[in-house]
């Protein structure tokens, strides 16, 4: 009995040892395995949506709501795909297709991935305005967008890099898109999208973050004027050796001003000019400098144009904060090829000002409809030239009437030009221009006034405000 007990114990011990050794042939739980608080699921759509919940598609408010469906007849190496029917640009239900795919529930932990990838094709060759992720309709904190994607009629893979995956611990915005018909002359087309997933490719490298699209941009402002750091992009070298830039949210960056007393910048990249001087706005990404900068040249306190005092009943206003303006086609026609004038309009304390830079000439048009100024007696405008007045400098103000046919040309257009020189033209002070129509014999009619043209710029800057006809 004693022997068999010992035998039994020994046998059990040996078998137990064997079992222990066998069990140790499995891999141990690695050090990286932590209990995830948010799901790390990679796939968004393959043959159907994966782990998105039920209420996950939200179209943009002014888009065509019914653009999205699931096509169960075709897909990338499958028979299911997301179908987006981009509408004609005259579709009364919405002139473009766009929306977000947001998880109906808790977000995902994307820290282990380096890109969102998917396959796309279209019913014809198109350029899609935006594909991206990170938009959840608040706060859209890490929204990322790939713009102007060329899509053809056969499946191609699109890779959108994740700029800093360590920040995406709880992301609900899995996919977003916006597609209009700018590249198809307003005509509708279809997009198919399949195999939307997050991946760790390992083949994307050399990410470089930039502000102002990597350029050094200078702007002139006044105290109280806001500017925006934009062109926030990240440029990556893709597996095929090409560079690709994506637009990323300013939330990825830290901004600073070289002179916070002149201009301050907040966490969203909003710059506020405070006092006269120069300040350079730059940014860092995870401590590393970004390329590009915004230089603020603040000219100090802005002196507005004299406040109009006329009764609105006596005024047809083209541009003024004091009156309701008539419909205006544009305040700068960018008339190629000879016009150099570039607009950089600003607003100070609610006062909007037209700012024409590199000014040689510029056209303002209001032809849809034209203006019947028959009952008016004058044109008024306020001008401010910040720089010096060179000898011989002129400013010419032209009023153009489109004639009885109401459109440009046709042989019935008339115009009159009035010239101003120094000493009326003076630097650093608002000058109010008043021209009576009685002094414009070249203007044979004013039933279809349609354009005001300013000429005589020497490549410098001119501010214009309070443009109106009155009696």
């Amino acid at each position: 009995m004693k022997n068999s007990k010992i035998n039994y114990l020994r046998n059990t011990f040996i078998i137990a040892m064997l079992l222990l050794v066998n069990v140790n042939c499995e891999r141990d739980l690695s050090d990286e395995a932590t209990n995830a608080s948010f799901s790390k699921t990679a796939t968004v759509f393959t043959d159907d949506f994966v782990a998105m919940g039920t209420d996950f598609y939200f179209p943009y408010g002014d888009s065509k709501f019914t653009a999205f469906s699931v096509d169960r007849t075709q897909g990338y190496q499958s028979s299911a795909s997301i179908r987006l029917d981009v509408p004609n640009n005259d579709d009364t239900e919405g002139t473009y297709a766009g929306g977000i795919f947001r998880i109906d529930g808790a977000g995902r932990n994307l820290t282990g991935y380096d890109a969102l990838t998917f396959y796309v094709k279209a019913s014809q060759g198109v350029t899609v305005a935006e594909f991206g992720f990170g938009e959840d309709f608040f706060p859209n904190k890490y929204i990322t967008t790939l713009r102007n994607v060329s899509v053809a009629t056969n499946w191609q893979k699109v890779i959108i890099p994740i700029t800093d995956a360590s920040k995406l611990v709880n992301e609900r915005g899995m996919f977003r898109y916006a597609a209009g018909t700018q590249s198809t002359n307003g005509r509708a087309f279809t997009l198919w999208i399949d195999e939307i997933k997050f991946e760790k490719l390992g083949t994307i490298a050399h990410g470089q973050v930039s502000i102002m699209n990597g350029n050094n941009v200078s702007v002139t402002t006044f105290a109280g004027v806001n500017s925006k750091v934009d062109g926030v992009i990240a440029t990556f070298n893709m597996p095929n050796g090409n560079n690709q830039s994506i637009s990323i949210s300013p939330a990825y960056l830290e901004f600073s001003s070289s002179n916070p007393a002149v201009a301050s910048v907040d966490a969203t990249g909003l710059v506020t000019s405070l006092s006269a001087g120069t300040a350079t706005i730059t940014a860092t990404f995870n401590g590393a400098p970004t390329t590009g900068r915004l230089t603020i040249n603040c000219a100090g306190t802005f002196v507005p144009a004299p406040l109009p005092t006329l009764n609105p009943a006596n005024v047809i206003s083209i541009f003024s904060n004091a009156y309701t303006n008539v419909p205006v086609n544009y305040y700068n026609g960018y008339w190629a090829p000879w016009q150099t004038t570039v607009s950089n309009d600003f607003s100070v304390n609610g006062d909007n000002v037209l700012n024409y830079t590199i000014f040689n000439f510029v056209g303002i048009e209001f032809s849809n409809p034209t203006v019947n100024a028959t009952a008016m007696t004058h044109i008024h405008l306020d001008v401010f030239i910040p720089g010096p007045i060179a000898p011989g400098r002129q400013l010419r103000v032209l009023v153009v009437d489109f004639g009885a046919n109401g459109v440009f040309g046709g042989g019935d257009d008339t115009r009159h030009s009035t010239t101003f020189t120094a000493p009326f033209l003076a630097s650093q002070t608002w000058k109010s221009i008043e021209i009576p129509f009685s002094a414009m014999p070249g203007l044979l009619s004013r039933s279809n006034v349609a354009q005001i043209i300013l000429e005589g710029g020497d490549g410098s800057v001119i501010y214009v405000d309070n443009i109106y006809f009155h009696n």
Binding site: V21, N24, L201, G202, T203, A205, H206, P239, G241
Partner: protein, 274 residues
């Protein structure tokens, strides 16, 4: 009693045996393919002595050669430290965009001709590659009889060739009489889930009579034998080593505005085994 004991012993023997089998089959973690068989180290440059390259092993080739070294390459090769220096245990060849001696780029090219000349063996280097269109680094060999029979009759073994605008691929090739330039015998290897400018990788050949095996890290990806070449097999003789980084040329094309300069090719070591 006896029967019980012998039953127990049998049971234990069986369990032990089965257990042993399970240990053998279940626990193997060595999944690497055996790619190298030659392990007798006969030459090494670990690049451990800071400064210029070791002149016992290497000579600099200078200038633009004949028509950009026969390839319309854009760089002027120099021996200046800004193009070639040993530091931090590595050889650093730097391609720079700068006007120099009439060329728009500078870089370096070192050869072991007349110093290390090898027939057969395992020739290996550990290298971190650059990136960007126009960069064309290589680790390669030419037949030592090049001055007598000229190229391509001397033979060329490209252990590793790489184009900066294709960062996941390297090429292993031979050039010889009847099979050179665009008709070289070549195969490429794509790195899975990574790219060659992210980290160091091992590039090598095992070369013997009538065969050359090419490997990257632990993957054998190419074997070339006389049956594969469309001409005479000229590789059963000594060759010397070249390390260089070209800029532009017929094969890579010129750099474009996305190419960032300077670019570095870092070599941790060159080793020869037999």
């Amino acid at each position: 009693m006896e029967t019980m004991i012998s039953k127990n012993i049998n049971f234990i023997k069986n369990s032990l045996f089965i257990g042993f089998l399970l240990i053998l089959s279940g626990c193997s973690s060595d999944e690497k393919q055996t790619v190298t068989t030659m392990n007798n180290l006969v030459m090494q440059d670990e690049f451990s002595s800071n400064g210029a390259v070791n002149s016992t092993f290497w000579t600099h080739e200078i200038g633009t050669g004949n028509n950009g070294w026969g390839n319309n390459e854009l760089q002027y090769y120099t021996n200046r430290p800004q193009n070639c220096i040993v530091e931090n245990g590595m050889l650093k060849i730097t391609a720079r965009k700068e006007m120099y001696m009439g060329a728009g780029y500078t870089s370096s090219r070192i050869i072991s001709k007349g110093k290390i000349e090898q027939k057969y063996g395992r020739v290996e280097a550990r290298i971190k590659l650059p990136w960007g269109k126009g960069l064309w680094p290589a680790f390669w060999m030419l037949g030592t009889d090049i001055d007598q029979v000229s190229w391509p009759a001397c033979g060329e073994i490209d252990i590793m060739e790489y184009l900066g605008n294709n960062p996941t691929k390297v090429f292993g090739s031979v050039h010889g009489p009847g099979y050179f330039g665009g008709a070289a015998i070549t195969k490429n290897y794509t790195l899975p889930n990574n790219r060659f400018d992210n980290d160091f990788h091992i590039f090598g050949i095992e070369w013997g009579e009538n065969y050359i095996n090419y490997y990257v890290d632990d993957v054998l990806y190419n074997q070339i034998t006389p049956e594969d070449v469309t001409g005479e097999w000229v590789f059963n003789k000594p060759f010397y080593i070249i390390l260089n980084m070209a800029v532009g040329g017929n094969f890579p094309g010129a750099p474009n505005q996305e190419t960032v300069f300077p670019q570095e090719m870092l070599v941790d070591y060159v080793r020869i085994y037999q």
